[in-house]
Symmetry: C2
Subunit: 391 residues, 2 copies
């Protein structure tokens, strides 16, 4: 089939706060071809991501993402890989291209799956979609008491595993952070899987990160996520060299396969976390899953938004590591909940898996799109390059 249209829908909560909660807005992508429709989602920064699709060409290796997609043939996974290679080469001077392409790529897999009546994980060559133990992804509270309550609430909703992120951690004394770790463990229970995410707060400062290790070890944390800036491989490696039982996790900032590989090979992380909405979609994420398996690094999805993004993020490692965990947005904003007509609900045993339905197996709720849709228009030289499309 031919890719007939690629449309972007910028959705937003009426009020967006400075909370580190990426579910406050969304950039939904709709791709059409051959009578079928596919959906994808770019992670964050909708306006520049739209601009990267429609912008005028600057020169031969700074072309808009749209130039590598619109009108192209889509008959199999190799066509998606070919478009990905063209975006990488022809848009190399356009940083936002990776974010923009990610949502489009997802939508192309969904479209291909719809056309073939196959789930994406099967198109990726997997014979099964393994079930995952979801971990609730929540933010640390402002106080240890607040963190304790959030941990109890997660456990109360049946989550055996939970990740606590951001909040006050790393902004004050290590002792205060330790109180939060204790509170999270207490709320989650002795048998819970406790994960901690500090959102790059230590920059490249290995000492400040290492100061938190004893308390993390005492709380029995499984990983310390993003202690450092996304590319601070040296700092990651230095922390790993401390030999703590708490391994580092990272990778959400990777916007190509090489960055994820470097985090494993140079940064020696124990867990590599890939966001399909940033790394260029499902194809590159699958490459990382293979690289991780070959290295004994545990692959985990990074997903903090909708169940469309969640389904996409489960596909790349659907056939890998039967007992692995997965990130599961536990307290997303209403926008993220309402955007999809169906959701990947947990089974009786608490597990989730990439669905067996064609494509990504997720249906969009058109009314929700209308409710949260922002009216956007971009004009250059009097010509409308982008206008919010009809739902």
């Amino acid at each position: 089939m031919r890719i007939e249209s690629v449309e972007f829908f910028y959705l937003s909560m009426p009020v967006v706060t400075t909370e580190a909660d990426g579910s406050q807005d969304a950039l939904l992508v709709r791709v059409r071809g051959g009578g079928f429709t596919g959906h994808g989602e770019c992670e964050a920064a909708p306006l520049p991501s739209i601009a990267a699709f429609v912008c005028p060409m600057s020169h031969g290796v700074c072309r808009p993402v749209g130039a590598s997609v619109l009108g192209r043939t889509l008959d199999g996974p190799a066509d998606i890989a070919r478009m990905a290679a063209d975006v990488a080469y022809d848009s190399m001077d356009l940083l936002q291209a990776a974010h923009t392409w990610s949502g489009v790529e997802m939508a192309l897999w969904d479209l291909l799956g719809q056309a073939r009546g196959e789930p994406v994980w099967r198109l990726l060559g997997y014979s099964a979609s393994n079930r995952r133990t979801p971990y609730a992804s929540v933010l640390f509270g402002d106080t240890p008491q607040h963190t304790l309550e959030r941990a109890r609430a997660a456990r109360g909703r049946g989550f055996r595993a939970a990740k606590f992120g951001w909040g006050p951690i790393g902004r004050g004394a290590a002792a205060l952070d330790a109180d939060h770790f204790v509170a999270a463990r207490e709320g989650l229970g002795a048998d819970g899987v406790l994960l901690v995410d500090v959102g790059q707060i230590f920059g490249e400062d290995v000492g400040r990160a290492a100061e938190r290790l004893p308390a993390l070890e005492a709380a029995g944390a499984t990983w310390l996520e993003e202690p450092f800036a996304a590319s601070a491989y040296e700092a990651y490696a230095a922390l790993a060299a401390r030999g703590s039982s708490v391994r580092t996790a990272g990778g959400e900032g990777a916007h190509d396969v090489a960055m994820a590989r470097h985090l494993m090979d140079f940064g020696r992380v124990g867990f590599v976390q890939i966001d399909c909405g940033r790394i260029g979609g499902i194809g590159p994420a699958r490459q990382v899953a293979d690289l991780a398996a070959a290295r004994g690094v545990t692959y985990v999805n990074h997903t903090f938004t909708t169940h469309l993004a969640l389904s996409a993020s489960l596909q790349p490692y659907a056939g890998h590591a039967p007992d692995a965990i997965c990130e599961y947005p536990a307290e997303p904003k209403p926008l993220a909940v309402e955007l999809t007509a169906n959701r990947l609900e947990r089974a009786a045993d608490g597990s989730v898996a990439a669905p067996d339905a064609p494509g990504l197996g997720i249906e969009i709720d058109a009314d929700a799109v209308r409710r949260y849709l922002l009216d956007v228009e971009i004009r250059v030289k009097g010509e409308v390059l982008y206008r919010t499309p009809a739902v």
Copy 2:
């Protein structure tokens, strides 16, 4: 002083082609404060770069670049570093932020230099602006004969050093590329400095790059630039391990200090080339210059556009390595030539240097801005977030 305004001007040639010539458009930045004006230039992709400055916040670590700049205090270099840190942390989920911030950062240095009556290189702590041997940066011809003519023309214009880039190299057989290298050397003369840039054409394929080494050695090339993708450190290191007299060069794709450091430490390049319009401006480029000096790697600017960008790109290493070369746009499009009222002309001995005038020492030609200015408007929810400002 307070940063009162930051304005973007999207300039473009009437016709933009797929030629790998980044001087076909420009994104000029004008910053005002305390009665003074500073200018900077973002490298490539104007529309998403503008969007990254004005976009609505998505969440706490996906804020528009403008949020870290507008209304802030600028009294010294530390204030610029503080804004840079805020952009890095508060806009980490916004890939285009690095490109956008680069032009703003340059303009802030220019503004600070105007206010203090000092050239930027002095604000950076250098006591002298060393003179550089400029190399003409031109594209390979379509045929070896065409390349020969371009090399002769460069020599004819007094350039002892020249870099040939892109064109057909790496797209066909190694033997054809060898003919181009021979032609470039012949046209340049036996005593000329010959540099070759292949624009990431080999991706991560070390074998195909290595195939070209014998011909490059025979032609006496000084470096082979960007044989691989910007983050393919392993491929860079593997090529370096061949021990050729032709060292690799790279770094223009670095959009933070870590990427440049990794290219040196993991990729073992002999030359690190930094574009101030991409790496986040003059401050981070200066950090790379220091890191390079400490490693025995040669720092070189990457500049293919205007003399505003050229002046900015000479500042970070103005006090380093007295005998170094510099990239000098030799055949830019009229837009890039006309944009500045003054230019860094070569002295009688052929050399150039960062100017002694305050700031970046470059004056903008308002009429040229008007001639090439594109009318752009971005609206979200009926509100105009960006409209081309008055010149």
